[in-house]
């Protein structure tokens, strides 16, 4: 349970940590988009070098990144296998019914694998180096123009920050309830799939009940402190654009240029 990387912020004092969440979010998405432009060895090498470079700059222990990859291992594996055996083209090494091991299949499965890894590593980097509330602030700021379309951006941002805020609380509570049920003789790691799923019922029901009652309490606490979704709110943390952010944007422009030059 504690292996879930979401919301695991590792504080630090690096350039990456000091960047504005807005530029970090934009750059992460932008990077993920331009990964799809890479189409040969040179362009992939460039993107991998960049990814490893920013990971190094962030100063976060590599172990945290591997933990981010682990939950998605099967998704990556299955996608890679599909690419490997279902892509046709070039020299065919082996064939069985609809499956074939071909030159193109091998190349494209390697590319898919690298793409996956880079996307996961970059998004993990974002959540590892940015406090959850800063991410929420960043998303809110970036979505702000949509207010013109009368979309409830403030409420949406509040929902995101509340959800992020309660991730650790829910984790702790899940652990506490699991311990209590273990003490009453539940064995979570035991038996077949059905038995394991059934063993989760005594955990999920109290978790839901407690979450609903907490949500009710929270709403009352907010209202009693005068929260009103309609009014414009001032904020305690004001986002500030630094020189680092401008530099980061320039780096991305240079990276894009290099990428376009490297691809064929």
């Amino acid at each position: 349970m504690d292996k879930l990387i979401l919301g695991r912020f590792v504080p630090g004092d690096t350039w990456i940590h000091h960047m504005d969440p807005r530029s970090k979010i934009l750059i992460s998405f932008y990077f993920i988009a331009i990964i799809f432009l890479a189409n040969n060895v040179a362009s992939y090498a460039l993107m991998i070098a960049f990814t490893l470079g920013v990971i190094f700059l962030s100063g976060v222990d590599q172990k945290f990144f591997f933990r981010g990859v682990r939950p998605l291992f099967f998704l990556i594996l299955i996608t890679v296998l599909f690419q490997l055996f279902l892509t046709r083209g070039g020299h065919v090494y082996w064939q069985f019914g609809p499956f074939a091991l071909s030159q193109y299949g091998i190349i494209s499965s390697i590319y898919v694998f690298l793409r996956f890894m880079m996307i996961i590593l970059m998004s993990t980097l974002l959540t590892l180096t940015t406090a959850p509330l800063m991410i929420a602030d960043g998303i809110e700021a970036l979505l702000n123009p949509l207010k013109k379309l009368h979309l409830p951006i403030d409420q949406l941002a509040l929902m995101i920050s509340l959800a992020l805020r309660f991730v650790p609380t829910l984790m702790d509570e899940t652990m506490a309830i699991m311990n209590a049920q273990r003490a009453r003789g539940v064995d979570f790691g035991d038996g077949g799939l059905m038995k394991r799923v059934k063993a989760m019922v005594p955990v999920l029901i109290p978790l839901f009940v407690n979450t609903f009652s907490r949500a009710g309490d929270l709403a009352i606490a907010m209202e009693s402190r005068g929260y009103n979704g309609e009014t414009e709110r001032t904020r305690y943390r004001v986002l500030q654009w630094h020189a680092v952010d401008t530099i980061a944007i320039i780096v991305m422009v240079v990276l894009t240029a290099a990428l376009i030059f490297a691809r064929n």
Binding site: K63, A176, I177, A180, Q181, A183, R184, D190, V201, P202
Partner: protein
């Protein structure tokens, strides 16, 4: 059934950059058929220690002996179930563990996990419901329709239904009204005296320590900093105050009397002892 800790260390997130010590070199023995109190501030390691009592956590170093079973870092997670039947733990805010449709089924959940048939388990559940002082009419009621204090009792009944030899209670009366608090503490004393259960009580209430415990362990930052009978630890009242742990009300009162020049030869811990002391003083002044 006794529990012995030998040089137990416990680290959270062992092997990661964020490893933190939960327990440091704890050695202690909780004898058979005893009433033990564990006190200490929030974050002092009490809850970590509790989870070692039925092998929910295993020591990172050292060993915990529960009855004849020795638990070390290498102990396999399988086959620990029999231990959990012998050591029942009532966690903090135990009412959060209720999940069944009816109170009866919820109490019967534990026994059924340990192999009782449904009929047997419901039989035990009925018995436990009255043991914790709830009326039988609640048997078929949804636990979520009860008050907080009643839910706490149902949760305690759910642990008692395992028929444990040792009952571990983590702040069982936190957030309850004074009357329920008293009733609950009386229930634990009765279980100890009449049914021979060992009680291990984690508490912040020094009055409960004074009134019920036979032995006290004090934890601070994962270390055992003091242990002894309530009389021994409260006699060292300066130590207790220095560590911000407080004193029983009777002891506080007697200390104030001593400051005012009254003779207080032995510090009273319980209300009755304080009454004795005052009566003695009054009769002496009259003479």
């Amino acid at each position: 059934m006794a529990i012995t800790f030998k040089n137990v260390d416990y680290f959270y997130d062992l092997g990661t950059p964020i490893a933190t010590a939960g327990l440091k070199n704890i050695s202690l023995t909780i004898p058979d058929n005893s009433y033990t109190a564990i006190i200490g501030h929030t974050g002092s390691g009490k809850s970590t220690l509790l989870q070692h009592l039925n092998a929910l956590l295993k020591p990172s170093h050292g060993e915990v002996q529960i009855d004849s079973r020795v638990i070390t870092a290498e102990t396999n997670n399988k086959n620990l179930k029999s231990l959990r039947k012998k050591v029942g733990i009532v966690f903090q805010f135990a009412e959060h563990q209720l999940f069944e449709e009816t109170v009866g089924k919820d109490i019967a959940f534990g026994p059924m996990n340990f192999g009782a048939t449904q009929a047997e388990a419901l039989e035990i559940a009925r018995e436990m419901l009255t043991t914790v002082g709830l009326d039988e009419k609640y048997f078929d009621v949804s636990p979520f329709d009860l008050s907080g204090g009643q839910m706490r009792r149902v949760a305690i009944a759910g642990v008692l239904a395992l028929k444990p030899d040792i009952l571990v209670l983590d702040e069982p009366t936190a957030g309850l009204d004074p009357k329920s608090r008293q009733a609950m503490m009386d229930l634990f004393l009765e279980l100890h005296e009449k049914r021979g259960l060992s009680i291990i009580l984690v508490t912040h209430q020094m009055d409960d320590v004074a009134d019920f415990a036979e032995h006290v362990f004090i934890l601070e930052q994962g270390q055992l900093i003091k242990s002894g009978t309530p009389q021994e630890i409260f006699n060292d009242y300066q130590f207790m105050l220095d560590h911000g742990l407080g004193l029983p009300k009777a002891t506080q009162f007697a200390l104030k009397m001593r400051q005012q020049g009254f003779k207080v030869p032995t510090l009273p811990l319980k209300e009755a002892e304080l009454v004795d002391l005052i009566t003695k003083q009054l009769t002496e002044t009259e003479q």
